[in-house]
Each structure stands twice: as C-alpha cells, then as structure tokens.
C-alpha cells in the first residue's frame, strides 16, 4: 500500500523540477531571443564594413571585427604547437605516473585562474617590463595560455583513447617513435584535439579582461604594424565601453549590433567544432 503522503511528496517533487526547468529554459531562451532581435535591428552591411565614428557612438565596427580576428588567428597559431607539445610530453614522452599527474594538476590550476590575472601579468611583463606597449601579439599569447588547458586536455584524452593495438602493430612493423606519433597517434586523436582547440577559441574571442590592459584600445587603431606599440580594436572591449555609455541610444544600438556579431562569431566557431566532437567518439575505435 502506498501512503498518500509519499505520493503527494512525489508529485510535488516532479512539479518543482518541471517548474524550475521550465523557468530556467524559458527565461534564458527569452533573453537569447531578445539579444538576437535587438542585435539584428542594428545590423547592416554598412555597420559591418565601416569604421567607427564619433568615438564609437556611431559608425561601424569593421576594425573591431578585424582586431578580434587577428587575435583569434594569433591565439590559434600559438596554442596549437604549445598544447600539442605539452600533450605529447604528458601522454607519450613521460613515463612516471607521478609526473603525468602533476602536469595534469598544473593544467587544472591554470584553467581556474581568473582571466583578469592573465591581463595584469601581461600588462606588467609585456607592456611595461619589456616595453612593448600594447600589442596584438601579447593579447594572442595571453589568450593562448588561457585556453591551453582546454586544448591540451582534449588532445591528451584523445591520445589516451587510442587502443594500444595500433601502437603495438606499428612497433612490430619497425616504426620509430616519431613515426608512430605522426602516423598513428596524432591522426587518430586529431578530431578530439581540433574540437578542444575550437571550443577554446570560441571562449577566447569573447574575453575582455586579458586583452584590455595589454592589446586593445577603444579607438584610434586600424591595422597593426609590427609587434611593439601595435594595439588593435576588438569587439568585446568595444561593447564593454559602449555599455558604460548606454544612456546614449545610438551607442546602445551599436552595442546590440556588436554583441550580436560577437555571439555569431562564437556560435560559428563552436559550430565548426561540432562534427569534430562527434567524430572524436568514433576516432579511436576504427
């Protein structure tokens, strides 16, 4: 016999769960739709392709988009080799489990460090101590270090998922370590790695704190020349400044449009990652 109190409690539980879920999803969904609609109102080809005017209040966001893309590409080129090297050392070259574990702990700690600390350290070291002033390179480098844990762990896990028969067979065919790395290990963990890199990149393009002291300014920059004293404009920092002048309707509309572009960029990069994420599951078990 099932007591009515138990049934009643159960119904309440189910109700609460559905309610909280519904509220959560619908509110978030509404917020998202709001963002999209406001953003689209401000969007036009002219907006995307023209430079800003009147201190950012009007005009377009061409150089902001360019700056963000420059940062993204720099980050990509830096994080790719660095995290590949780290993952190879951690998963292949090092034998002692203790060292591997320490390296993994290092990655977890790095992953938790607030992004603003990257920015402050970068400011001290690159901008002031090295005397480079603000530079797109510094921004890219800091962003790369920030997403390094994500990308390295993605590759590392991909490597660990490769079943040892492949490596045994490679060895039995007389292949050397480097050959096994480039012919077996890297190809078969590549989807996992790429998805990690793309997801990290999607996060990096939206970051403001690491670049606001080190790489980006609000107005005055177009295309960087050289590495030192070469700041760039960027979408996140642009939005950040516009929000602080949001009483001005034109600035507001500019902010919506910029936000939409930024979000579209994030979605685009995450979207490209999707097929690789799916493939990563089948990768190691052909």
């Amino acid at each position: 016999m099932v007591s009515s109190i138990r049934i009643w409690k159960n119904q309440l539980f189910i109700l609460l769960v559905y309610l909280s879920g519904f509220i959560t999803v619908s509110l978030l969904f509404l917020g998202f739709i709001l963002l999209l609609s406001k953003g689209f109102q401000s969007l036009s080809l002219e907006f995307l392709l023209s430079p800003m005017r009147e201190g950012g209040i009007s005009g377009g966001i061409f150089y902001q988009i360019l700056g963000t893309l420059i940062l993204a590409i720099t980050t990509l080129f830096i994080v790719f080799p660095l995290s590949m090297g780290f993952a190879l050392v951690k998963s292949i070259y090092i034998q002692k489990a203790f060292v591997k574990k320490t390296m993994e702990l290092f990655l977890y700690i790095l992953n938790g460090i607030p992004s603003v600390l990257f920015g402050i350290f970068g400011f001290f070291f690159f901008v002031k101590y090295l005397g480079w002033g603000k530079s797109w390179f510094t921004g890219g480098f800091l962003l790369a270090m920030m997403i390094l844990p994500t990308t390295t762990l993605a590759l590392s896990e991909g490597i660990n998922r490769i079943s040892s028969e492949y490596i045994e067979n490679g060895l039995a065919l007389g292949m050397r370590k480097t050959q096994i790395i480039f012919s077996i290990i890297l190809p078969q963990s590549f989807s996992s790695f790429l998805s990690g890199v793309l997801l990290g990149l999607a996060r990096a393009v939206g970051e403001t704190a690491p670049i606001m002291f080190t790489a980006t300014i609000f107005s005055g920059a177009t295309i960087p020349t050289g590495v030192k004293e070469s700041p760039i404009l960027s979408l996140p920092y642009h939005i950040f400044n516009l929000v602080q002048e949001s009483y001005h309707p034109q600035a507001l509309s500019n902010a919506w449009g910029s936000s939409l572009v930024l979000i579209m960029l994030v979605i685009l990069i995450s979207g490209i990652a999707l097929p690789f994420r799916l493939r990563a599951h089948e990768e190691a078990k052909v």
Partner: protein, 314 residues
C-alpha cells in the same frame, strides 16, 4: 598465468631513444614555455604582491578603508564583496541548475534532451561582456524597481552582481550536474523503481548519493568562475569602495553598491597604480588573494573527485 601480458604500449614509447628526436625536443621546449609562463605569473603575484603584506601585515585583509590618494589600503570590503557576491550567486542558481539538471536527466526523453543540452552549452559560451550588457539594460532597472522599499541608490548593487553571476554560472553548473546524474548507471534507477519506490525516493536514495561528488565538483567549478568573473560584475556592481557594513549578516549591503576584487582589478586604477610602488603592490596583493581563493577551490575540487573515486570503489 602465461596469458600474454598485454603490454602498455604507450609505456613502450616512453623509453628515451638516441639520438634525441626533433619532435621530442620541440615538444619539450613548448612544454617549458607553458610552465615558464605559469611560474612567471605565480612569482609575479608573489613578489609584487607581498610588499603590501610586509608593510601592513594582516591589517591589509581586515581593514576596509581603501584611499589610494593617501596611501591607505585595506582589502576587507573587496574580500567581503567577492565572497558575498559569489556565494549568493551559487545559492541563487543552484535550485534552478539542479532542477533543470534533474529534469533533463531523469524525466525528459532523449530527443528533447539533446536540444536542451545543446542550448545550455551554447549559453555557456556567451561572452561575459554580453551578460554585462543585458545586466545593465534589464537587470539593473528591474532590481531598482522591485527592491525600492530597501531604497537602493541605483540599480548597481551587490545583489545585481549576484544575480548576473547566477545566470552566468547556471549553464555550467547545470551541464556538469547533469553529466554527474547521467553518470549513475540505469540499473540503480530500475532496481529502485521495481521495488516500488516513487520517482522522488528513487532519485534521493538511488541516484543522488552516487552523483554527489560530481555535483559538488560542478558547484565548486561554478564558484571558481564566479570568483574570477570580472567584466559582468564590473558593469553592475557600482564599484564603490569602503562599503563594509558593521554587521556581517545584515542584508543592507546587498542593496548598495560595492566592490569585489575583480571589479577593482578591472578598472583604470591599475594604470594609475603602476608608478607608485605601494599602490601597485596593494593591487597585486589583491590579485594574490584572489589567486589563493581560486587555488583553494581547485584543491577542494580535486579532493572531492579523489574522495568520490575512493567511495565508488570502496
């Protein structure tokens, strides 16, 4: 015995080979670059942040007055702001995050689940500055209107910051909690249900105990992100120094402007501080405190994971 010892082939590869391969050399160099960066950052915080501690010792942490023009530095109101805002964010988001996680893992059919999960992951990728935008435009006036009885000065309050953070960490906490719940194998549910337990009882007694380590880890991760979030907090918290109420448990600060460590660090005061050694050390000292906070959270997360694994096998 005698069954082929299936060799750990990746261990085979770790024997050093001579001549040392080019790939190995480059991999080592790249690894060292990363390690060097991290050590550099840690040393930087330590070396540049410690002078203020030597100068003021513990009063840096307990003193709430920050007047940089007369070289008076006290981090207490910022520490208070950071802790209050972050913990409140967890408290606010947890019911919704858990509720949604339970909904999607226990009740929703697979087809809908995939869409919900994808949407949530999408939200987790939205940049914090966009949350800041939404917070300034919608949340701020809302808080100002709804909590008028408490007479806030404007919509920029600690409460606003907490709510924004709660929304920001919700996708992460929900997604990870859901992973933890789904990690519990189907049998546990099926056995409980077939013994006549209700859904609630099945969940509380069959599923939840095994998912607890994962959920705690999710909460800790959310907490870590809340502690470190700069931009969104900066935009809605009002950035007012020296707001430490006399009573730690009064609700009043929630409806006033305040300051967290991150909102202080994210401002232009950093540029001003650079030329002035004491001021600079005070700022970096704040960074050091934040670093320690986050380090503790990460360590707790690892401990929970480790305990969780022990418990599963025990």
């Amino acid at each position: 015995m005698g069954i082929l010892v299936f060799v750990s082939s990746k261990a085979i590869l770790s024997k050093p080979t001579f001549p040392f391969s080019v790939t190995g050399a480059f991999s080592l160099i790249f690894t060292l670059v990363s390690l060097l960066f991290f050590c550099g950052m840690a040393l930087f915080l330590l070396i540049q942040g410690s002078p203020i501690f030597f100068q003021e010792q513990l009063s840096f942490i307990t003193d709430a007055d920050w007047f940089y023009r007369i070289n008076q530095y006290g981090a207490a109101s910022m520490i208070y702001g950071t802790i209050l805002v972050s913990f409140l964010a967890i408290v606010l988001s947890l019911p919704f995050a858990l509720g949604s996680a339970i909904l999607t893992s226990e009740f929703l059919p697979n087809s809908i689940r995939v869409y919900v999960k994808s949407f949530i992951e999408l939200l987790a990728g939205i940049p914090s500055v966009v949350y800041g935008l939404l917070g300034v435009l919608f949340l701020r006036p809302l808080i100002f209107k709804w909590f008028a009885p408490f007479s806030p000065e404007s919509g920029d309050t600690l409460l606003t910051a907490s709510v924004i953070l709660a929304v920001m960490i919700l996708p992460t906490v929900m997604s990870l909690s859901e992973d933890a719940l789904r990690g519990v194998s189907k049998e546990h549910r099926e056995v409980a249900l077939s013994l006549g337990l209700t859904r609630l009882e099945t969940f509380v007694h069959g599923v939840l105990p095994r998912a607890i380590p994962g959920i705690i880890a999710a909460v800790l991760l959310g907490l870590g992100r809340a502690l470190g979030e700069t931009i969104a907090v900066y935009l809605v918290i009002g950035r007012a120094d020296n707001r430490l109420s006399d009573s730690l448990f009064s609700l009043k600060p929630l409806f006033e402007a305040g300051q967290t460590i991150t909102s202080k660090l994210g401002g232009s005061e950093l540029y001003i501080a650079y030329g002035e050694p004491t001021h600079w050390s005070a700022m970096i000292g704040l960074g050091l405190i934040l670093f320690v906070f986050v380090g503790v959270i990460v360590a707790m997360g690892e401990a929970v994971n480790w305990l969780g694994r022990k418990y599963q096998h025990g």
